[in-house]
């Protein structure tokens, strides 16, 4: 329709519209292709734009060099302002305490400060940068606590509580709220060597990973867990058929009108599939069956056949026996 009107009312190309109309610039509009199609054309374009690209890269490089030279090498005053940020529970007081351990304070090199901060197991990684005005920017990433361990103090004092990270490291858990610590499952019946951040618990790497998976993927189950016993966890020989993790269920989290589930036994070699199995099990239905006459049960999630290295996933409710 529009073309129809254009045809009648628009300018006629065959009609002579004056000298400007027949100028070659009007008659042959130029359509300069910015990227010529041939190889030669592309080479020309690259060559002509290369100085711009190189200049841009030069300035980028200059900026990076300047940034790092200011960032890491410029010594500043001992009491330079501090900007602190963390994703956990540590506070600026902690950082100041770490900085105060060295006489140079904030004037130290950022790499040294970072190393000091990362020396604490609670700190997963530390980003330390110095701004052009000399102030320090500190960003901490803290380790997640998935469990706690209670240790006797070396000189017979009160119990020392340490938190367990998914990597199997223990840390002091500074500034952690008491309630948060209390809600964490406790590691029981473990064998350990060392103390403090050098504390080494047998099988803690397995249990750390196991608890992290439970916490992130099955939080409803994880909440009910009061403790994890490592009495049958053989640590480095985690794949041994009889190696297992005993999860003790928190008392008072279950209804009283049915037998209680006291413990769940996971094999250390196949706990992932067993966790998946647990999430699909109708535990309520099983425990409310008329055949369930014992007052309390232990849920064994796999048959630990000693002749085969591979546990067979077959959950069984076993009545609790007095040891």
């Amino acid at each position: 329709m529009l073309n129809f009107f254009k045809k009648f009312f628009g300018k006629r190309r065959d009609a002579y519209m004056g000298p400007e109309h027949h100028d070659w610039r009007t008659m042959v509009p130029q359509n300069v292709s910015r990227l010529p199609g041939s190889d030669l054309g592309r080479r020309r374009v690259v060559r002509s734009r290369l100085p711009y690209v190189l200049t841009f890269l030069f300035f980028i490089l200059l900026a990076v060099v300047l940034w790092f030279s200011i960032d890491e090498a410029t010594p500043e005053s001992k009491n330079a302002p501090l900007r602190f940020n963390t994703d956990g529970f540590l506070n600026v007081g902690y950082v100041q305490k770490v900085l105060a351990t060295n006489p140079q304070g904030t004037a130290r090199e950022v790499r040294a400060i970072r190393a000091d901060l990362e020396a604490d197991n609670q700190v997963l990684s530390a980003q330390v940068a110095r701004r052009a005005d000399g102030s320090l920017d500190i960003n901490l990433k803290e380790r997640v606590a998935v469990a706690r361990v209670a240790l006797n103090a070396p000189n017979g004092g009160p119990l020392v509580i340490r938190l367990v990270s998914p990597e199997g490291l223990t840390f002091s858990g500074q500034n952690y709220p008491e309630q948060a610590i209390r809600n964490l499952p406790e590691i029981l019946e473990f064998r350990f060597t060392g103390s403090g951040d050098q504390l080494n618990i047998d099988g803690l790497d397995i249990v750390g990973e196991f608890l992290l998976a439970a916490r992130t993927q099955y939080p409803n189950h994880y909440k009910q867990w009061a403790a994890v016993s490592l009495r049958d966890c053989f640590g480095a020989q985690g794949s041994t058929p009889s190696s297992s993790l005993h999860v003790i269920i928190r008392p008072g989290t279950q209804p009283l009108d049915r037998p209680a589930l006291n413990e769940i036994v996971f094999s250390t070699g196949d706990w992932r599939s067993e966790l998946l199995l647990l999430s699909r099990l109708d535990l309520e239905g099983l425990l409310r069956k008329p055949a369930a006459t014992a007052p309390a049960y232990v849920l064994k999630l796999s048959i630990q056949n000693r002749t085969s290295s591979q546990p067979i996933p077959e959950p069984r409710l076993v009545p609790v026996t007095t040891r």
């Binding site: 027949h22 070659w24 300069v32 041939s38 054309g41």
Partner: protein, 411 residues
């Protein structure tokens, strides 16, 4: 302190039948300083007509690439030469009556007359490319600048160059596909004249003949202005071809013999000379009679000049109509100037003088670089001269951080 003017970069491309040349110059104080040059044999053009656009495009692209590499920066826009019979020329005439009571001519009157001249419709399917100024007349008398003079009628004349729309679109499209804009066209004969003709020559009247390989372009200046221009599809290649047929030799050998022994005039004494193709008189070397070579070259050369003479006379007579104009010393006191590769032919000027009966000389372009002071480069050097005359005034250097940075990195 006023900022220094920025040097303008002008790039010109002369696409001939035999060779394509490009010249890039930096304009400093109205003079071009050469910063890039390239010359490659043309492919895809026969007798000034494009026969294979892809081949021609590749050839021109390589020339542009060479120039860019030489000068170290990209070519954005170029001036192109227009040669051959494709570019038609005609005289357009416009006039207006002076409306003032006292008969004083104003700028407005002149503009009106110019508009009137340019209003003439070009031939069907053609596009106006250039309007070259011819003498302005006030009441029938030629004047330089009519503004401020008194009279009743003001007349302006232009030599208009037109071209077929398809041919022009093909040329523009070819350059555009390389990422380059065509700034303007320059008539090849006018370009050659710009390189070799002085103002005194123009004032007296001069005919410039640019004899290329495939085409011959000519332009006639009369009383400081261009009177007419034209072109024929005959050039130096025809001489080579004739020689090749007459002596039954390859075109390469014929070209070599033409350059070394060809002449614009045949003399009886030439028949006494025997020449050798290679000169070592070894196996495969051939001997020829020089008289045969000069006879063939002179005949074709003079025939070409006769075609030119006829074309010039036709156009001159069309302009002067009733007046019986002859191409003689009175009409063209500055004689004839020949340029182009064929002007290198021995005794070419004598041949021209024989045909036209006028004094002739070979035009060598005025250029800073001595290697370009040859008649075959008159076209490209003149193209640059014409482009400088047409180019806008150089811009003042802008102040600020970014221009300073650009100048630092010579963008």
């Amino acid at each position: 302190m006023t900022p220094k003017p920025l040097p303008s970069i002008i790039t010109v491309i002369d696409i001939g039948t035999h060779k394509t040349t490009s010249l890039a110059g930096q304009v400093v104080n109205g003079q071009a300083r050469m910063i890039g040059f390239s010359e490659r044999p043309t492919d895809g053009v026969v007798k000034g007509m494009v026969t294979d656009l892809e081949k021609l495009q590749l050839c021109v692209h390589e020339v542009v690439n060479d120039v860019e590499r030489t000068m170290g920066r990209a070519v954005d826009e170029v001036y192109l030469s227009l040669s051959g019979p494709d570019a038609e020329g005609e005289r357009v005439h416009g006039y207006t009556s002076v409306p003032a009571h006292d008969g004083k001519i104003t700028n407005k009157d002149l503009k009106e007359a110019i508009e009137n001249a340019k209003c003439k419709e070009p031939p069907s399917g053609c596009v106006s490319i250039l309007y070259m100024r011819q003498p302005t007349m006030v009441d029938g008398k030629p004047v330089g600048n009519p503004v401020g003079m008194t009279g009743q009628k003001i007349e302006v004349n232009f030599w208009r160059v037109t071209m077929k729309h398809t041919g022009l679109a093909m040329r523009v499209g070819m350059i555009n596909s390389m990422g380059i804009k065509v700034h303007d066209f320059v008539l090849a004969s006018h370009a050659a004249a710009c390189a070799v003709v002085t103002d005194a020559d123009k004032k007296g009247g001069v005919l410039v003949i640019d004899i290329g390989a495939g085409t011959t372009n000519w332009i006639l200046y009369f009383k400081e202005h261009i009177l007419c221009a034209g072109a024929i599809s005959v050039g130096g290649e025809h001489i080579t071809n004739d020689l090749s047929i007459a002596l039954r030799i390859s075109r390469e050998t014929a070209e070599d013999l033409k350059v070394r022994f060809g002449s614009g005039v045949h003399r009886d004494t030439d028949a006494n000379q025997t020449i050798w193709k290679d000169g070592d008189r070894g196996v495969g070397d051939q001997q020829f009679n020089r008289g045969t070579i000069t006879q063939v070259t002179a005949l074709r050369f003079q025939e070409t000049l006769n075609f030119i003479k006829r074309d010039v006379m036709e156009r001159v007579n069309a302009i002067f109509k009733a007046q019986n104009v002859e191409l003689d010393q009175n009409f063209l006191p500055s004689g004839i100037i020949i340029t182009g590769g064929t002007a290198n032919l021995q005794d070419a000027t004598e041949g021209v003088e024989k045909v036209f009966g006028l004094s002739a000389r070979v035009g060598t372009p005025k250029f800073e670089n001595e290697s370009f002071r040859k008649p075959q480069y008159a076209g490209v050097v003149g193209l640059m001269t014409a482009a400088i005359a047409d180019a806008p005034a150089p811009k003042r250097a802008p102040k600020g951080f970014l221009p300073w940075l650009k100048s630092l990195f010579r963008f």
